[in-house]
C-alpha cells in the first residue's frame, strides 16, 4: 500500500458517480437497468475508499509517516503555484476514515430507503459525487483544492435537496441552501486570497503556509482567519448563515443524514482545524468563533424545543452540536472539536436514519404528533433511536458524553465562563428537546392500535452498526480522568491542541454538573411529554415557534431590498438614465446628421453661396494675416 493509493480514495466514488450517471442515462433513454446494479456500484465505491483509508491508517500508525501525493501542477502563474496534490496526514486520514465509513453505511441505508423510487440511479450517482467532493475537501493539500471540494459538496447538496424537483418548495429550499452557501464561499475565497498576499505570495500548500505564517502581519492574518470562518459559517450553518439548514430537510432522509452527520456541515470545523496554525496565532478571532458557536448552539437548541417536524428538530440539533464544535476549535481545543465531529457523525447519522425509517413506515409523515397518533411498532428503530437520543444528551458511558464533556471542560478551563454557561444551558435544552421528540414519537399514549411494521434489512443493519459506534466511539478518546490515554488527541498531535489540565476535583464537579443538567432536561421532558395527549398537538406558535422570525427578517432585509434594488436598477437606472443617455445621444447624432445633410441639397445656387462665403472667409483671413 503506497502513497499512490491516496488518490484512489477520491477516484473510487468519483468514477462510481460517472458510471452511475452514464448508466442512469442509459436507463431512462434506452433500456431499464435493474436497481440492484445501481445499488451494487453505489455501495462498493465508498467501501473501496474506506478500505484504502483503513490500510493507509494502519500503515501510518505503524511507520509514523505522512502521505503526500503530487498529481500534477494545475496552475503556475508567476509566484502563484497551485499543485493538484493530496495530503494524507493524521488529520485528513482521521476525518476521511469516518466520512467513508458513515458514508458507506448511509449508502447501504439508502438502498432500502429509495427502493422503488424513479430516480434510484440518479440518487446514487449524486451520492457518490457528494462523497468524492467531500474526500477532495478532506485530502486537499492546499486551500484551492480544498475549495474545489468545498464547492463540490455545495453543488451536490443543492442537487440532492431538490431531488424531488417537481415540488416547488424543494426547489426553493435548494436555492436557499445554495445561495446561503455562496455567501460563505465568497468569504472563504477572499480569505484564501488575503492569506496568499499576507504570506508574501508563496506557494499555497498547507505545509508552506504553516512555515510562513509567523512572518506575516498579524492584522492581515486575523482578516484572513475571519474571512475563512465566514466560509465555515455558511457551510456549517452557524449564525447568521444557518437559515438554509432546516429547509434543507426537503431532500430525502439519507441525504439529510449524509449532509448533516458526517460530511458537509462538518467541513467548516475541519477547515478551522486545518488552519489551526492560523487560528492559534490570532486569539481574538478564535474567541469570536467560539462565541458564534456558543450563540448558534443556544439559538438552535431554543428553536428546536418548539419544532414539530422530526427532521427539523434533528436539523436544529445538528446546528446546535456544530456550535459546540466551534466552541472547541475556537478556543484552541482542535482535537476535542474533531472528536465531537467524530462521535456526532455516528449518533446523528443514526438519528436521521431512524427518523427516515419512521417516516417511511408511516408513509412520509414527518410531524411528530401525527407520527404519535399513527404509531407503528418499530422495535429496532426505537431502540437505536433511544441510544442516539441518550448519546446526544450527554448521558455518561455513551459517546456524546465524552466528547461534549471535553468541550465544556475546555470552555471552563479557558475562563470563558459565559461560553461555558451558554454551553451548559444548551446541554439542558438538548436533553430536553431530544427526549421531547423521543417521548412523543415512541412513548406518549395513543388510541391508535400499534402494529408491527417490517423494516428493510438495509435500513436496520446500518442502524445497528451505527448504534454500536454511538455507544462505544467515545472510548476511543477516553480522557485521563477516566483512566484513558486520549488516543484521538495523541493521533491528532500535529494540531497542537490545548489540553485539559485541571485538578481532578474541579473536573469531576464539572462532569457531575453537566450530567445533572442533562438529567434535569430529561426529567422535564419526561414530566411534560411522557403522558402527553398526542390528540392535542402543540403548534409552532409564538416567538420560538416562529424561529424568532429570522427567516422573515432575512426575507425583509435581504430578499426584499435586493429585489427592490434590482427593480430600481432595471426600471430607473437602466431605462431612464443609462438607456436614455445612449438612445438620446444616438438620436442626437441622427438629427444632427439630418440637419447637416440639408446643406447637400444639390441646389446650384446654394452651392454658389457656400463658395462665396468660403472664398470671402479665405480672403479675409489672407488680408488680416498678410496685411494689405
Amino acid at each position: 500500500m503506497s502513497t499512490s493509493m491516496l488518490v484512489w480514495i477520491i477516484l473510487s466514488p468519483l468514477l462510481g458517480s460517472i458510471v452511475l450517471g452514464g448508466l442512469y442515462f442509459y436507463h431512462i433513454k434506452k433500456q431499464e437497468v435493474n436497481e440492484r446494479t445501481f445499488a451494487l456500484i453505489g455501495c462498493v465505491t465508498p467501501l473501496i475508499s474506506f478500505i484504502i483509508t483503513l490500510c493507509l491508517f494502519l500503515k501510518m500508525s505503524d511507520e509514523k509517516i505522512i502521505f503526500k501525493q503530487h498529481l500534477f501542477t494545475w496552475l503556475n502563474i508567476d509566484k502563484l503555484n497551485i499543485d493538484m496534490a493530496l495530503l494524507g496526514d493524521n488529520l485528513a486520514i482521521f476525518m476521511s476514515m469516518f466520512v467513508t465509513f458513515v458514508g458507506w453505511l448511509i449508502h447501504i441505508y439508502a438502498i432500502g430507503y429509495m427502493t422503488g423510487d424513479k430516480g434510484f440511479g440518479k440518487f446514487f450517482a449524486y451520492f457518490n459525487l457528494f462523497l468524492a467532493s467531500m474526500l477532495i475537501l478532506v485530502l486537499a493539500d492546499n486551500p484551492i483544492i480544498l475549495f474545489i471540494g468545498w464547492e463540490g459538496v455545495g453543488v451536490c447538496s443543492y442537487l440532492l435537496i431538490k431531488f424531488y424537483y417537481g415540488n416547488k418548495e424543494n426547489v426553493i429550499a435548494a436555492n436557499k441552501a445554495f445561495i446561503a452557501n455562496r455567501v460563505g464561499d465568497f468569504g472563504f475565497l477572499l480569505g484564501v486570497v488575503t492569506l496568499f498576499f499576507a504570506l508574501g505570495e508563496v506557494d499555497l500548500s498547507f505545509g508552506t503556509i504553516e512555515t510562513n505564517v509567523s512572518n506575516a502581519s498579524s492584522g492581515l492574518l486575523a482578516l484572513a482567519g475571519f474571512l475563512l470562518f465566514v466560509g465555515a459559517m455558511g457551510k456549517s450553518a452557524q449564525v447568521p448563515l444557518y437559515v438554509w439548514l432546516p429547509d434543507a430537510m426537503a431532500g430525502p432522509t439519507p441525504i439529510s443524514a449524509l449532509i448533516h452527520a458526517a460530511t458537509m456541515v462538518t467541513a467548516g470545523v475541519y477547515m478551522v482545524a486545518r488552519f489551526h496554525f492560523l487560528y492559534s496565532g490570532t486569539e481574538e478571532i478564535g474567541l469570536f468563533i467560539a462565541y458564534i458557536g456558543a450563540f448558534s448552539a443556544l439559538l438552535a437548541a431554543v428553536i428546536a424545543t418548539r419544532q414539530t417536524d422530526i427532521k427539523k428538530i434533528l436539523a436544529y440539533s445538528t446546528m446546535s452540536q456544530l456550535g459546540y464544535m466551534f466552541i472547541a476549535v475556537g478556543l484552541g481545543f482542535y482535537s476535542a472539536g474533531l472528536f465531537h465531529v467524530f462521535t456526532h457523525a455516528f449518533f446523528k447519522a443514526m438519528l436521521f436514519m431512524g427518523a427516515g425509517g419512521i417516516i417511511i413506515a408511516l408513509h412520509h409523515e414527518q410531524n411528530i404528533f401525527k407520527i404519535a397518533q399513527h404509531r407503528a411498532q418499530l422495535p429496532i428503530i426505537k431502540f437505536t433511536f433511544l441510544i442516539g437520543v441518550i448519546a446526544i444528551s450527554g448521558i455518561p458511558f455513551f459517546s456524546g458524553f465524552f466528547s461534549k464533556d471535553a468541550i465544556l471542560a475546555a470552555a471552563f478551563q479557558e475562563g470563558e465562563y459565559l461560553i461555558w454557561a451558554i454551553a451548559m444551558g444548551t446541554a439542558f435544552l438538548t436533553a430536553f428537546y431530544m427526549f421531547r421528540m423521543y417521548f412523543i414519537v415512541f412513548v406518549a399514549p395513543t388510541k391508535h392500535k400499534v402494529q408491527y411494521v417490517y423494516t428493510s434489512m438495509t435500513i436496520t443493519i446500518p442502524l445497528i452498526l451505527l448504534a454500536i459506534g454511538a455507544v462505544f466511539a467515545g472510548y476511543l478518546n477516553l480522557a485521563p480522568i477516566f483512566g484513558g490515554e486520549a488516543q484521538v488527541d495523541q493521533w491528532l498531535a500535529q494540531l497542537n491542541s490545548k489540553t485539559i489540565h485541571m485538578s481532578h476535583a474541579v473536573e469531576w464537579i464539572l462532569i457531575i454538573l453537566s450530567v445533572a443538567v442533562a438529567a434535569a432536561g430529561i426529567f422535564v421532558a419526561y414530566k411534560k411529554y411522557a403522558k402527553f395527549d398526542v390528540e392535542k398537538p402543540e403548534e409552532e406558535v409564538g416567538l420560538i415557534g416562529n424561529k424568532f422570525y429570522v427567516d422573515e427578517i432575512y426575507h425583509a432585509v435581504f430578499v426584499e431590498t435586493s429585489k427592490k434594488l434590482s427593480v430600481w436598477i432595471d426600471k430607473v437606472l437602466d431605462d431612464k438614465i443609462i438607456d436614455a443617455f445612449i438612445m438620446n445621444s444616438s438620436r442626437g447624432f441622427v438629427n444632427l446628421g439630418k440637419k447637416v445633410s440639408m446643406m447637400q441639397n444639390a441646389n446650384v445656387r446654394f452651392y454658389a453661396i457656400f463658395m462665396l462665403v468660403g472664398m470671402t472667409c479665405v480672403f479675409i483671413y489672407l488680408i488680416s494675416t498678410l496685411g494689405l
Binding site: N601, N603, R605, I609
Partner: protein, 104 residues
C-alpha cells in the same frame, strides 16, 4: 479725366451684380450671363490697372480670360442644351439629381 476709383467702382459693381445674379436667379441662361458679367468685371479691373501702371502683363491676362471664356461658352451652351432636352426646363432648382437625400 475719369478717376481710377470710378473704374474700380464700376468693375466691382459688375462683379457684384454677377454674384447676385448667380445666387438669386434660377434660369440657367441668366446664371451663365451673370458669370460672364463677373468675368468682365474682373477684366475691367485688370485693364484699368494695366493702363494706370503702364504695364502690359494684366492685359495679356485679360485677353487670356476672354479667350477661355469663349471656349467655356461653347461647353456651357452645349450642356445647357442637354439639360433642356432631359427636363424641358431651364430652372436650376429642378436639377438636383446629384443629391441623394430628399429634395428640399
Amino acid at each position: 479725366m475719369i478717376s481710377l476709383t470710378s473704374y474700380a467702382f464700376v468693375s466691382m459693381m459688375l462683379f457684384s451684380i454677377g454674384v447676385i445674379g448667380v445666387i438669386a436667379r434660377r434660369n440657367i441662361f441668366v446664371i451663365y450671363m451673370s458669370i460672364e458679367m463677373m468675368l468682365n468685371g474682373v477684366n475691367l479691373f485688370l485693364v484699368t490697372f494695366a493702363r494706370y501702371h503702364f504695364n502690359m502683363d494684366p492685359q495679356i491676362v485679360s485677353i487670356m480670360v476672354i479667350a477661355i471664356a469663349a471656349a467655356e461658352a461653347a461647353v456651357f451652351l452645349s450642356v445647357i442644351i442637354l439639360l433642356y432636352r432631359s427636363r424641358k426646363s431651364l430652372d436650376t432648382d429642378i436639377f438636383t439629381i446629384l443629391s441623394q437625400g430628399e429634395k428640399s
